[in-house]
Subunit: 469 residues, 2 copies
Amino acid sequence: MSGEDAPAQQQNAEETKQETKPSEEPKAESKPESPAKAAEAAATSATTEKVPEEDQFTYRSLVLSGYGGYDKVKLQVKKGKPTLKAGEVMVRVKACGLNFADLLARQGLYDRLPSPPVTPGMECSGEIEAVGEEVTDRKVGDKVLVLNRCGMWQDVAVVPATHTFLIPEGMTFEEAAALPVNYITAYMMLFDFGNLRPNQSVLIHSAAGGVGIAATQLCQTVKDVTVFGTASASKHETISQGGVTHCIDYRTRDYVEEVRKISPKGLDIVLDPLGGSDTQKAYNLLKPMGKLITYGAANMLAGQKKNLLAVAKTWYHQFSIHTLSLIQNNKSVCGFHLGYLDGEVEIIQKAMATILELYRQGKIKPRIDSTYHFEQVGDAMRRMQERNNIGKVILITEPMPEEEKKEEPKKEDKKKDDKKKDDKKKDDSKKEEKKDDKKKEEPKKEEKKEEEKKEVKKEEEKEEPKEEK
Amino acid sequence: MSGEDAPAQQQNAEETKQETKPSEEPKAESKPESPAKAAEAAATSATTEKVPEEDQFTYRSLVLSGYGGYDKVKLQVKKGKPTLKAGEVMVRVKACGLNFADLLARQGLYDRLPSPPVTPGMECSGEIEAVGEEVTDRKVGDKVLVLNRCGMWQDVAVVPATHTFLIPEGMTFEEAAALPVNYITAYMMLFDFGNLRPNQSVLIHSAAGGVGIAATQLCQTVKDVTVFGTASASKHETISQGGVTHCIDYRTRDYVEEVRKISPKGLDIVLDPLGGSDTQKAYNLLKPMGKLITYGAANMLAGQKKNLLAVAKTWYHQFSIHTLSLIQNNKSVCGFHLGYLDGEVEIIQKAMATILELYRQGKIKPRIDSTYHFEQVGDAMRRMQERNNIGKVILITEPMPEEEKKEEPKKEDKKKDDKKKDDKKKDDSKKEEKKDDKKKEEPKKEEKKEEEKKEVKKEEEKEEPKEEK
């Protein structure tokens, strides 16, 4: 997954234009931010008829302009057809997946994303629009899903052909975009490091998240695996239907106690996306021969912008283990992050082949939580960061219709109700271990207020056009 | 594996007698160390005819009398038939295995062995002589191999029936005693933590040792596994025939460089019995998704008695890993020690069943390096500690015939020649990383001198009896 391609591609684009407000016809219209850019745009527009096709080529791209809040990801129009090197293909993107790493990256907490300005996004799906030299196993029109280090959140992506995988019959673009990161992550953790076998037990944190849903489904492919899943209470019904044996509301319960009640000897595998003090808890929960697989530091994420206290606290509590302790406990500690598996094409291709075969057999199916247009990327990120999603949050490249701009996406509305329910259930009288969780929730409340303000604003906007009509 | 049984058994023995010199008929004869014990023994002897059978019952037992050198393990005669609790069996021991943990234990560096006086030994083979209540799957006369926390180095051992395994047809008692610790260790590391699969690569340190030979054989059961094995040059032919693809003489070569030359990307699995700075090297040698399995701290062992410098150095360099490093490298660090798998009967039984099946299929076969009588336990330990063995060092309970006492075991002589060859090949102009190894070798030279002195003494003894004849 040598993501160097993406930044390179960005440089190919001769000019970039800032879309301050989303436009229906991005290729033609664009509203540059600065007078200089406006002049440029005017000049370009004036010479449109004379320039060759390559230069007329424009596409929309989400660009992280600097580290910070949701507004740091901006929709821009890029000009100039990307050139293809040998072994590369150009993909007309239809849908992109959102991942936790994208949220960390926005705050400057993910070192695999090159410095801004840069287009984030590790996965997408679409159709091949052009193939470079030496590409023999892909052709124009192939429907593919793509895994790359970054640069997937745009209309057009240029990637090595080896980073693309043919989409099986019957799989939607949304499902395809939801597949690579979450399912490869879950697969490698459970079946490579975890060596999951029948009758074992697994703890899946954030069981309603993208990796959580994927891991739960993959656990079902092995006989008699007991899945403990943490999620807020409102999500329990869904994850239980998805295969979680024991749902634990981490907001109102101490998950360590809950697991011990049911499985006093502990667990065979713990998947830990949280980091900080939760990694130690995970380690303690392991049975002899148990495997802890840590794959993130979600505890670092507290609020829209980088929260230095949360970062410092997570670092401070970050787990460090002495080998003699591992020996005396017969335990295993593994770290996984797909973003660091750069260049391991063989590993990825093998995992992906198995995952696509499991899809064909009907054993796994990505759960799409919600889809957002590029114009709504901030809302999409907020949904994920506030953990309101059950399953995957997807961005689609299809420009947002004018009328939709005045409405919230339907799914989003439904889930917001869920969120409100969750908030009501919040229990502030937590034990010591719960303090971390509270820290995460506090900023959420603040953002919720912001969100409410925005909703009011949108309502106003909604009424205005009506008057125009 | 609840090893509490062994010390309990020891308490059952009414009296223990020290055998300062091995005796041909240990049940009848014994030469107590102290006048007090001599008096006791005389008293016991006088009442022999009156006491019931249980009290007449005697057996020989190797007892660790205190931490220190080879002479701290003494052969004693114990009196009184051990009583059986429900679920236990009494085994008439034929052969016992020597393990690295026994050497560490003798120096007080292994916390799973209860405090002296105590009988060491984690494995043995023999015949069942009595079964306790509630034992349904074992009967008198069954040939079994036994795995226990300690207490196996004696003529008679009482253990839970669940710690015994029926010996397959055609397996000798020596092979059976060589099997449990080494093969379960190698099996669990390679197939549970290691998740070994076709086309992978494995580094096996001390490839000529018990675990090394077992691991090499188990690697052959998986298709196209490349085995890198370290051993001194004189052992290369043997381990190469056993399945090691690339033999590395760690005494004259930097094994890290040698591995990198052949496999620049690194390895899938490293088995690390050394600890200290070698664990970091092992970690660095891993490919992405690689697994380091550390299972000892052999580097702590330098010389016959506890070498505080070696212990401190090993501790100081002992590997400690931060989970963020694991994540960014996609690596796994596991610790294994069979001695700490107490009570995990199910795990052990499953592994043992597979191992015995592999033996039946002719896929594995323990390699016996040498066998020693109980009277020669010091020599047996020295052979292992000085790493002169290729395969397993075995103790047999059969008392040493008078004539043999004046001779060295044949195999031992052969291997001593090997050792001398090794010593000749020693290259003192090593790089920085080699210093550890040198430290290990220095005490060896001292001990060699001791050994030579002993040999001279034995030669003298040898001649004396001739004169007697």
